[in-house]
């Protein structure tokens, strides 16, 4: 009681980003949300593709021109990384949902694996895109 009545005593803060040392599982968790929100844009682009296709050759050509512009390509590369990251980390979450892979060593290793996969798969897809005339 004496502690509680002491004026101006600082209450304990719940942990927040600024008081935590960054570690990989935390970064992986935040990245899952960030890439998920980014993929909202990807789905809207996919819807725009379908709508432009249904609107005729001119609308479709305009859509393709926007996507092939420098900004369009940068956005598409970012969305490629987001997609492969969210896919791999989503599978990581599905494994967790079965109750497996929760110990710290495994969780750290799977986070590294997911990040490495996202980068490798993105580069591979863009190499394939360049070779097949997609970009």
């Amino acid at each position: 009681m004496t502690d509680a009545t002491k004026a101006g005593r600082e209450r304990p803060l719940s942990p927040f980003v600024s008081v935590w040392r960054w570690h990989i599982t935390m970064a992986a968790s935040i990245a899952h949300r960030v890439t998920g929100v980014a993929l909202y844009v990807a789905a809207l682009i996919a819807a725009a593709w379908a709508i432009s296709l249904a609107s005729g050759p001119d609308a479709y050509a305009a859509f393709k021109a926007v996507m092939a512009s420098p900004i369009g390509l940068v956005v598409m590369f970012g969305l490629t990384v987001s997609f492969f990251y969210h896919l791999a980390n989503g599978v990581r979450h599905l494994v967790w949902d079965t109750g497996r892979g929760f110990d710290i060593k495994t969780a750290n290793a799977s986070a590294v694996l997911v990040i490495a996969f996202a980068l490798a798969a993105s580069i591979a897809i863009w190499v394939i895109a360049a070779m097949t005339g997609a970009i």
Binding site: A50, T132, A134
Partner: protein, 128 residues
């Protein structure tokens, strides 16, 4: 009268105990479906990006392509709606603004998804 109800009867009849498990399972089933669907979609995008309008029309008139593309979009918009809903619920303070954002999220996903599916069906069925 409410004092005659036991805590168990309240838990059974109200709140998250009613449909939380169903929501949880449908989120996972949607996520599992998206693994093969979106991997297929990546290769579809590669082919479509290399082709012109005529190629895209011919491509989408094939039943398998039209159906897989429509399914990918429907399940994706469903998954997105559920995902962004959790983000809004976590970060936005309870109130009218939060409710408005949740409804907006649902409407954007529903509208974009419906427009995309209708567009695919239109081209797939009419050939242009």
């Amino acid at each position: 009268m409410s004092s005659y109800r036991t805590p168990l009867s309240r838990a059974r009849g109200l709140g998250s105990a009613k449909h939380g498990v169903g929501d949880w399972i449908s989120e996972r089933v949607g996520a599992i479906a998206l693994v093969p669907l979106t991997l297929w979609a990546v290769f579809a995008v590669l082919r479509l990006a290399a082709g012109d309008y005529g190629f895209a029309v011919a491509w989408i008139t094939q039943p398998l392509n039209a159906v897989l593309m429509a399914l990918t979009l429907v399940v994706s918009f469903w998954h997105m709606q559920a995902g962004l809903r959790v983000v809004i619920e976590d970060y936005v303070e309870t109130g009218v603004g939060k409710t408005a954002l949740l409804v907006l999220n649902l409407f954007v996903c529903g509208l974009a998804g419906a427009l995309a599916v209708f567009s695919i069906l239109k081209v797939a069925l009419s050939g242009a």
